[in-house]
Symmetry: C2
């Protein structure tokens, strides 16, 4: 039905459940293109170039920045991460809806470069719940968890720059709501071709 | 989930199928408030005051216009028709989503008075299809049908003032898409309360 796809940015604080919800979304829609990030970090065992990440050198990454080939990028602990623009634009032009799963700073960078992007903020019901999830991952020290919680509260203040808010109290419900958002965004007048006889 | 309901305006040319799609929508959602119009025409056999229409006198209707108690109104063949504002606002404040089923002129009047209104334009796939539907209703003379078709083409030019376009090639599909739009609009950040601990 759509002529051109929509760019859907699924974003939210660290620990909000972006990855899990994105996986659940795959059970409701099979016609989405998931963007693959570029990174300068080394592949971990089992990670595949082009599927998990595009693994590139620092020089290649910096050339991509120079050439405006990234929709967003950041340097995190000496490694670069970013979203290559071309595969996203190709998929949109083919009429596919594209999903980016990125952090809040990245989402706002995308919105600056690509104003039609649809920004979805995913948030656990309470900070206490987010703290419990971060603790459950067992990857962060207590002071690191505290830092992440404070970051999350600062990110919540940016909510007014988002199009939608999903309170992630239930993964399936969150995925269903995102599915409805993608359906609805496909019904925008500019996404659809009118039969030319209407325009006589 | 919503704190305050959304005002959903289902609109489109005469013969676009607004009534049929609205009925189908009732099979997907049972928590919608359907606005009842006011009119100065006499009740037809079986029509119930407060259910089919609010039947009022010309004097009462003109008082409602004066007092800004109508979200939109028009005079059609010596009768007034309009949407009373109060029941709509009461339902929205109770957190219900409200559906108005009105013509294109009325929809644009509502948008002027109520900027948060969500405008959905319902359109048959082609003018030929609209002509066939109008002919099938057997209520209009051929020259009347021609006039309605020309009106419809003029109304299509107002599409850029609408939030969504539904091509009504299939009633169930159209109702499902409207259901997704209502779901999605309920996920707007301003529709939802955040747990106050997020806002410390």
């Amino acid at each position: 039905m759509s002529d051109k796809g929509n760019l859907i940015v699924l974003s939210g604080p660290s620990g909000s459940g972006k990855g899990t919800v994105r996986q659940a979304l795959g059970r409701y829609r099979n016609n989405l293109y998931y963007s693959v990030s570029a990174t300068t970090r080394a592949p971990r065992p089992g990670e595949v170039h082009g599927t998990d990440y595009y693994f590139v050198s620092r020089e290649e990454f910096e050339q991509m920045i120079e050439a405006n080939e990234l929709l967003e990028w950041a340097e995190v602990y000496t490694y670069y991460y970013g979203t290559p623009r071309m595969p996203v634009e190709d998929a949109l032009n083919q009429g596919l809806d594209v999903v980016l799963e990125i952090d809040v700073q990245g989402a706002l960078q995308v919105k600056e470069r690509f104003n039609e992007a649809v920004l979805i903020f995913l948030l656990p019901p309470t900070p206490e719940e987010l703290g419990a999830r971060l603790k459950g991952r067992k990857t962060d020290a207590p002071e690191e968890i505290q830092t992440r919680l404070e970051w999350a509260k600062r990110e919540v203040k940016l909510l007014n720059r988002y199009n939608y808010l999903i309170i992630n109290d239930n993964v399936e419900e969150a995925a269903k709501r995102i599915n409805s958002i993608i359906e609805a965004e496909g019904c925008r007048p500019f996404c659809q071709c009118l039969n030319s006889n209407w325009l006589d």
